[in-house]
Subunit: 310 residues, 2 copies
Amino acid sequence: MNEFDLIARLTPNLATNAAVVTGAGDDCAVLDLGQPDQLTLFKTDAVVEGIHFTRETPPEKIGRKALARCLSDIAAMAGTPVAAVVTLALPTGFEPDRVTKIYDGLNALARETGVAIVGGETTTNPERLLLSIALLGTVPRGRAALRSGAKAGDAIFVTGDLGGSIAGKHLDFIPRLAEARWLAEHFTVHAMMDLSDGLGGDIQHILRASQVGAVLLKTAIPVSRAAKNRTTEKPPFVAALTDGEDFELLFTVPAKSAVPLLDAWKRQFPDLKLTCIGKIVAGQGVILQDRTGARPLNLGGYVHFDGKTS
Amino acid sequence: MNEFDLIARLTPNLATNAAVVTGAGDDCAVLDLGQPDQLTLFKTDAVVEGIHFTRETPPEKIGRKALARCLSDIAAMAGTPVAAVVTLALPTGFEPDRVTKIYDGLNALARETGVAIVGGETTTNPERLLLSIALLGTVPRGRAALRSGAKAGDAIFVTGDLGGSIAGKHLDFIPRLAEARWLAEHFTVHAMMDLSDGLGGDIQHILRASQVGAVLLKTAIPVSRAAKNRTTEKPPFVAALTDGEDFELLFTVPAKSAVPLLDAWKRQFPDLKLTCIGKIVAGQGVILQDRTGARPLNLGGYVHFDGKTS
């Protein structure tokens, strides 16, 4: 049983209540805690030694990455992060200095992004270090960008370049908080998410939640230099579609907004590429279009285990 | 370096912001997210296979315990729990049915207590199962029961019986949510916390945060039947002071409230014992008083690693 089957089994039966606006299944949960103008965003994410980092990873980058992953999910809702709590599961014989440096990295990114670290739990996980972070954020009422609002005709955009994150970006990526908030303030964002498992798989979450399909233009997909330089057998284009941990924004806007958006974006964020990679269509699944024609995207069943129910 | 030394090293440098009313160091963080009448409570806690439960523990009870521990911290603030997110780190070769049953236990307690499970993260932890839960709650403004408000002269109370939780209660305990809310509504609670590491050590958190001392009456400490029936070398009274996972409430109220409280409590909660175990005094540390006199409490350095920074 893979993660998606497991999540599909667990999700339908989750306890709920009147505070829930959007429960499990989007980048963050959306809650109504009674603020007059805002809703609350809630997210958890974990990194594990040997999976998301190694014993050799600089500890500051472990702390940074753990928080950045959650921040990317708040960004994907067009939200503002507020406060985090940290579960730190420490292996037998942990080095206190390593832990201090993990917290240094965590605190540094928290300060950069205005987040308070308001509590934590230390426990034992004898074989390896595990760091789980839960993050609260806020979003103005009516402005949370869900996965479920894509409409046929929408233009599909992605920030940055895709693939090859493992070469380094996965430890240094910048959560697209400012960009996402600006987007939601200035344009009608129909659907948005952050890319954590690769465009090819992740876009399916938007398509299923929105009950639509997509046509992607092969030559438009922004393949990163890291993906091109990789020495694995995976072709760069496949890496751009299937490598995890891009942490870029994937979103859709009405087609008529596409050109104004690209123009405004260049002025607002001259250092971050924004690419229109295709369009939303009626139907389901992803069609890949290139010079030779159009065919269903087939990634050969690439699925990896680490993922999320929200 | 033990947990407390580590936490003492990490806590002073945590990033903060204007939303933080009470940061790390109490049972929950208290945040002001702009609700007119309420503040937000935020807490994380984790259970780990081999430490908080075993491979033989019925899986429903693992899920129940993981949530109940967080609920107990919301209770300790006199709050109402609202929504939880779950990080589930699964060992290699996990059984999907075991995971489903963990969630069954979690959902059942969530429904009993009005909590929504609004998202989660599944990841891999090859050697053992780990379950980390973050819980949000609310508390009316002005009513959060902190650890820092105890005053000389206060009467000290504890709910239930103490010690021997490992015999079974640690999997079945009932978070004292209703009791704590009732207390805060009807009496002035100066300080409150939940007992997770044993009365003898836990009370020190209230004393240090409030800069006061305590006199405990040895014969008044409610020693559980499980502590009395234990076959270990630990005397029952020592077990009542040092065994972890009681998850009872420890709180202080002005001395003049002590008798009215006991009377009202008996009518309101006839099935749950409430015991006055001593009083808050000027100074620091704990004095234990019995028929032979009074002396500083000495627990022989009993400290265990699993704990919390909040």
